[in-house]
Symmetry: C2
Subunit: 196 residues, 2 copies
């Protein structure tokens, strides 16, 4: 079913609002139009290009929100964080991140993104990784964007379990469960749990 331009633009605006990190290429595929059409639509709607949208979100004072390490030490760009709850970061796989021979992203970069997100989500001056169980579920290639989502599962004593799932588009490429040491007990829910 072919949409009118107005319908398409309305739908486009909603789509980008729901997922600010969608690329023009992905939108073109989704709307069955050319990338050029998407760009023109965005211009008419005054929606900045993806890079600008990311920059805007990434600069939203994440530095004040991360406690366990300076923001520059996070691998990838944090785009959303709620301490001791959840966090999201994106990482663009470039030439220097892949095996020269087969163009597949090296595991330690996916690990680094996920691990530093697991550190960043901890609401403490100190967070150290104690152990991790990880799985690489699909090879990632140069040019792909990895979106990592961290979720704090529970805190027991001074140990917090963080699950991280990383996606390219809708495909799971990595998942890991990180067991993190922290210096202090969390303020609220965490302490209740300690009483168990």
């Amino acid at each position: 079913m072919r949409r009118t331009k107005k319908e398409r633009q309305e739908h486009l605006q909603e789509t980008i609002q729901a997922n600010p990190f969608v690329t023009d290429e992905e939108l073109a595929g989704q709307f069955h139009v050319s990338v050029q059409t998407i760009r023109l639509d965005r211009m008419e709607l005054s929606i900045p290009e993806l890079r600008e949208r990311i920059k805007y979100v990434a600069e939203r004072n994440m530095d004040d929100e991360v406690r366990s390490l300076p923001i520059e030490e996070v691998i990838g760009d944090i785009i959303d964080i709620e301490l001791d709850k959840s966090a999201i970061s994106i990482f663009d796989v470039k030439k220097e991140h892949v095996f020269r021979r087969n163009g597949i992203a090296r595991g330690h970069h996916l690990f680094a993104q996920a691990n530093s997100l697991a550190v960043a989500v901890i609401n403490d001056e100190m967070a150290l990784t104690r152990k991790a169980d990880i799985q690489f579920t699909r090879s990632v290639r140069e040019g792909e964007r990895i979106v990592a989502k961290a979720k704090v599962i529970r805190t027991e004593k001074l140990q917090t379990i963080v699950k991280v799932s990383s996606f390219v588009g809708s495909e799971l490429v990595f998942r890991g469960e990180f067991s993190m040491f922290r210096a202090q007990l969390p303020d609220k829910e965490g302490q209740d749990e300690i009483g168990n």
Copy 2:
């Protein structure tokens, strides 16, 4: 018991032969003499400094021996390898590898050393990490040298299990079990196992 200089130098020579990667500082501690004394002993005995000893071992055509990736892509210096059996690499923790705030080495560097050693030990054109269970057992600091030892445990179908233990001196700092995908069955023992 204080040794004569001759006794000390004999013992020193044996010690370095047994472990070419021992530092002058470690030797000084072990022999209860100053680092300067160790240096003079080495000069008299014509034993090159540690850096040269490592370079010598590392240049011993490891490139011909590693199949799964170009040697430059290995994180750390491989100093010994027997394909599909075992491998050893060393990694010097420098300023850029530690958290600025506490000087502790970031986990993904230890992971990268261990993971790339697990890739390198595979006797196949292709080796990809499928999953890993890892543990950080002691914090590593700037200036420390990590010696990682990989051991191939078993191969089942196209999956090889590699255990990596990393040490600073005699202390275990990291251990991991890596499950690796490979393109082909190994030549010998591996294939027998497949028959099970």
